[in-house]
Amino acid sequence: MLRIAGYAFLSLFMVLVLGRYIGLPIFIVLIVSPSMVPAIYPGDMVLLSRSSFDVGDVVIWCSSALFCVVHRVIEINGSSVVTKGDANPAPDKPIPREAVKGKAVAVIPRWLWIPMASTLIAFYLYRTIGISRPRSSPGLALAIVLAYAVVTSIYILAIPASHVLLDGLAIPSIDLRGVYIENNTVYAVFIPRNASVASLETCRYVYGLHVATCTASFNGTAISIQIPPEVFREMNIEGVSRIDITIAADLVLEGGRHAKLISWNYSVFHTYREPVVEVSGKIVLIRNPNPGCLDVNITSMVANRAGDPWNVSSRSLCIDPWGSYVLDLSGYRYASIKIEYILSGKTRVIQRVLQ
């Protein structure tokens, strides 16, 4: 009678373990992860039923026949379900509703089922095989090996294997939000994640066929690189509009380790703007709205009486960045000017008759 009860119990247990695979309405799984602590501990067994579930229920969802997760439902959005382990800091990725295979209906704590199972197995061996009074037979050896094979197989099948290799590994990173140029400074703005720039090891920029080393300063999220005015002037004369900046930076990571950032070419574009020429009577104001000086050649033609030959004078100069130049021809009755300047490698001319 006891033997029959033992076989019945073992069969029921096996059926419940295999229930997950053969589609039974109820089945049991063994928990291996502490993600549901304190509700469920590793080693606990959970009895699940294939019934409807709601937010707050503990469910099992499987991404494949072998890989399953037992977590709590925190959100249901139509056909997708979001679950989270009680002890996990973040929720899992949304899963389709059909991936949920069952709802937890009972937890069998490990402190209850392991001693019970051990006692039952010991008792069974004692009564049926007679392990307390060893009999010398190959059959006994075979029986022990087979018993081990069966129990081990059931045990291994009951463990829902997890395919999550590493969880909680936040690899520090630094992304680029954008690069822009303002006045004579190039700004590279970063989006750091558990990392910040500790120091700049190298900084260089290329424009046209020139390569130069840059000096840069940085705060936690942005690097600012000063471009000398001469560079803008050369770029304008040569008709170059692009500056490529490359940096190598030492990053300090969360936890104190270091990493290195070798940047791509951060390209910024800059073209000179037209000078502003304002004429007021016979006073001419030329403003340079650029970060580098503007090469101009000003030719003035003046005369005091009609019929007199023009008095022509010419001067070449470089108007300072953001600066201006004033030409006062108010001492003459007749005056005109010709302003020649270089813009993006091409010579342009502005002519004005001053009245």
Binding site: L30, V32, S33, P34, S35, P42, G43, P134, S136, S137, P138, L140, A141, L142, I144, V145, Y148, A149, V151, T152, Y155, I156, I159, A161, S162, H163, V164, L165, L166, D167, G168, L169, A170, I171, P172, S173, I174, D175, L176, F190, N194, A195, I247, L251, L253, E254, G255, G256, R257, H258, A259, K260, L261, I262, S263, W264
Partner: protein
């Protein structure tokens, strides 16, 4: 002391070596990590810290649960071997050796799982973003005592099983001939 008894003692000793090496495999670190990720992986626990936070591995936790049959096998092998040396019990030795051989399959499996986790831990996290290439210092992996012990635990059961089969053959022959 006849040949069968000598072989039995050798087989039992081999099985004891298996049991001890299996327990060392289960209880001591298999992989030790130094670098971006610090810590260890063993079949009885793990500790991984990287970039200021604790890292968990559900796969390693599964592997730990799979080791229960190996514990059982090692303890059974130890008890059977001692009994066999003291009292002589070739059948018990045969069953313990058979179980030990079976448990090497599980041991290979859990070592493979830990190997996967170790590969993931030591994987170079260097990556590219819009900012550029981020190069990390990396994580160095060292083999722990458990890994060395596992190589012994994976071999010895086959030796003891082979000897146990011979001993069983002698015992059966003895029974059949009534010698």
């Amino acid at each position: 002391m006849n040949l069968a008894r000598v072989l039995e003692v050798i087989a039992a000793s081999t099985l004891i070596i298996y049991a001890i090496s299996a327990l060392i495999t289960l209880l001591t670190p298999i992989y030790i990590f130094r670098g971006d990720i610090d810590g260890y992986l063993s079949l009885s626990g793990y500790s991984l810290f990287g970039f200021g936070s604790e890292i968990r591995s559900q796969m390693a936790e599964s592997a730990m649960l799979y080791t229960a049959p190996i514990y059982a096998s090692a303890l059974f092998a130890l008890a059977s071997s001692l009994l066999s040396i003291l009292r002589g019990s070739p059948w018990l030795l045969l069953s313990a050796s058979g179980i030990a051989v079976m448990s090497t399959g599980i041991l290979r499996g859990v070592l493979y799982i830990l190997g996967l986790v170790a590969s993931a831990v030591s994987k170079d996290p260097s990556h590219q973003t819009a900012a550029g290439r981020i190069i990390f210092q990396g994580t160095e992996v060292y083999i722990g005592t458990g890994y060395i012990a596992s190589q012994i635990a994976l071999v010895t059961p086959y030796v003891s099983l082979a000897l146990a089969v011979i001993i069983t053959f002698f015992a059966l022959k003895k029974q059949m001939h009534g010698v």
